[in-house]
Symmetry: D2
Subunit: 261 residues, 4 copies
């Protein structure tokens, strides 16, 4: 598996330019208008990533995240112009390519930070790319987690807020564990679903992570793993692997016949 | 303050019907398509709440939350039909009216849970309302929090993922504190902003909460408070109060000249 | 029928401010971006009109038309702010109330024209209302036309362009006839459907109009008529009446048991 | 110019499956919901075409039209799945490649017609391609028309309905002339703008067409012409050429230094 580890990943950091000040100028704008604006802007971003089989995550809405292994870094100029033509805000885009998702995202973010502050009125629709070392986009590994019997144990049992607390706590623990220990980028994607863009992980590693989440939050997770040339290819395999878990009760399943190494 | 506490609040629980199974039938659907669908569906919901000056929160996307003090519970039938006519999914809506946001949301959720499981294929576009005791919608209190100098201390300093971890951790702590101890419903709304629909809270209470968040997560919050007949009226005042904090360095400011009682 | 004629109608003219110049500044904007922008902006407008059971028509996209009998003229301020918060353009709104749809629309347009040119960079988000005489909104009459067996005679037989020519020619003839002779406002609404907001019309009048269209364009129309306090109430009845035509072969059917007067 | 005429064009016919029946089942659906649905669905289509620098036109909404010279015919499967995942309807797509836009669109439509009726409940998300002769996509010519001083002579002078009548009449005459005599596909695109996808046309031909429109409708048109490998490349040049007309008073201008042949 040593050669696989040389595969790099291309991550994208998207940031609405000068958004905080805009939301309160000249007066604070109506919250529901902002919520709807942010959500539709992210939907536009998500749809854009589909053309090269990428993934996109809403993250904090003013900062969105993408995975774009088969995209040229200059491709995002089209997205930037589209947003400028369809929305009242503009977006800066940093692209980073590195050996792990974490380092790639950090590279993508450093591109934006070097270009100026997120609240710098002069920083508009920046686009740049940074490669860490000699990384080139290769195979991506995606882990798709959900809560074992979430509907039975949470959604139908406790209020949506209680269920939300529990799931968010588990998602946050997962995110921090995977970021700190395994250089993965992990995002809550709705319902009880969490997706991680990972370096290659073994089932035993995932077992340890799930144990940690259960011990610290009481939530039992199951996870499907996929690997492929794009986030969608890997993620689609991961979804099928997760379906296998749901059907069989297995807690960890890899679509690619991963054996312990 | 005793008379204020009689004001009830009307909360809304919106749930996509049978969504989990739909996302994987007949095959798992593409993740970016689902992300875009959920986001636009929520945007439709947010826009709908504007007509009665309500608020809406994306929460977990398959479960959304609204505040609708000046809406008749039957008004959501229009939203349900609109969604049925414009989206590939349907939505059930529970409305709850109670003395505190937490109890109102629990009532709203209990309406949905009594109607059947979220993954019951026969439960489609349910709409019902439950009142706890003799509560009627009255004045709403909204607290709008953000991180002191988030751009300077987080966004421009660490990667978006690191900043996201920190802000999410603070938001989750805030949410749990406010839910458990004060019956408030608290939601992250993008960037470094968190909004809580509260029973009446005093500045000293908010000071204790901000202390708790700082001690457990290291994040320094500031908060504006507003009160009014609708979530928008209260929330707009809260936004102005938060602007006052940003301008003056004050950490807690109430738009309504709240005095310690 | 004399008392019916006292019912007025409230029409709305919506115009994107300074749109032509914006589409070419600083360089011509990409056509697909503009098409998507216009379409979504209209969808926002259409969704807005639903709260008071109104109707909205895309017309020329930069100029849209609404029917809003149960709306207060000031209600459109909320729509204007929503558009300003969610789109890169602003919209001016003229509201007109008069005895016929044509005169109401002309009044609505005169409001905009008095406020300045559509390409005046200083005219932004104007909102005003003009009443002709002492008209007040009353019952609305809606006629919903379509082509007899459009799928069999056009869509499946000729290319979409040919079918489109024929249907557009019929729609334009209908629009001009109804405008010039009966003070109705008529819009193509997709497929082979045309909707007219009418003063009260009798079946024999509609028969003459359909004859005119058939003679000048070769297209055989059928039409359902409805009347009610709002465009939606009237239009929904008209749709049911048109379903009756489709089922029975009748060419003109009124939902309200209209007798010749 | 003989070699230019060998360039083929790839046109796309998009048709909502079984849409008419769906809009009235089980009861007629609310008109504003349908208007908003159609408009957003078209916006999704328009955004999709941008990735290969194509053009899209709303046409009759249930039948949309695209130009996709640099797209593989199988690329539309992604659009079909996206629509299925995000909308309550599905779309069939016919792709046609031929020497002229008209013949290419007819080929695209014949693909759909052979697959079954537009109202055949069993025909769902068909995708196929037909090439006429040995045409391959080459250079596209786009003509972008607008009305000379539309704002001054129409928008600010007469009601929006009157201006709309006049512009629509001119657009329809243009469309029919260009279709019948020159095999062009012509669409109204909002405001006073009309775009034609043409075989190569000379300025003197365009002069004759503009004369015809002026004589039959009284509308004075100006037109910019562009040619390039994609609809966007050609259309963007045409927009610049039209700007040249607006600036100089010239009535016909070609971006590519077209000489009379």
């Amino acid at each position: 598996m040593s050669d696989v580890s040389h595969d790099g990943v291309r991550m994208v950091a998207l940031q609405i330019d000068d958004y905080g000040p805009w939301t309160t100028t000249p007066e604070p704008r109506r919250e529901t208008d902002l919520q709807a604006l942010q959500s539709r802007l992210f939907a536009t971003v998500a749809d854009f990533f589909t053309q090269f089989d990428g993934y996109a995550f809403a993250d904090r809405y003013d900062n969105m995240i993408g995975v774009a292994n088969e995209s040229d870094p200059t491709a995002f100029e089209r997205l930037q112009t589209q947003i400028e033509n369809q929305y009242p805000v503009t977006v800066s885009v940093g692209v980073g390519t590195a050996e792990t998702p974490r380092r790639a995202l950090e590279a993508a973010n450093s591109v934006l930070q070097r270009a100026g502050s997120a609240q710098d009125a002069d920083r508009t629709a920046v686009l740049d790319h940074r490669t860490v070392g000699d990384a080139v986009p290769g195979a991506v590994t995606v882990a798709h987690f959900d809560v074992v019997d979430a509907t039975g144990t949470l959604t139908d049992q406790v209020s949506s807020a209680e269920a939300g607390h529990t799931i968010r706590r588990a998602a946050l623990d997962l995110r921090e564990q995977l970021w700190e220990r395994y250089d993965a980028v992990t995002q809550f994607v709705g319902g009880d679903n969490v997706i991680a863009v990972c370096p290659s992980l073994t089932p035993s590693t995932l077992g340890e992570i799930n144990d940690h989440v259960r011990e610290s939050t009481g939530v039992e997770l199951q996870v499907g793993l996929g690997r492929g040339p794009t986030a969608h290819a890997a993620g689609d395999d991961a979804k099928h692997a997760l379906e296998h878990c749901r059907a069989t009760g297995e807690r960890i399943h890899a679509a690619f016949g991963l054996v312990e190494r």
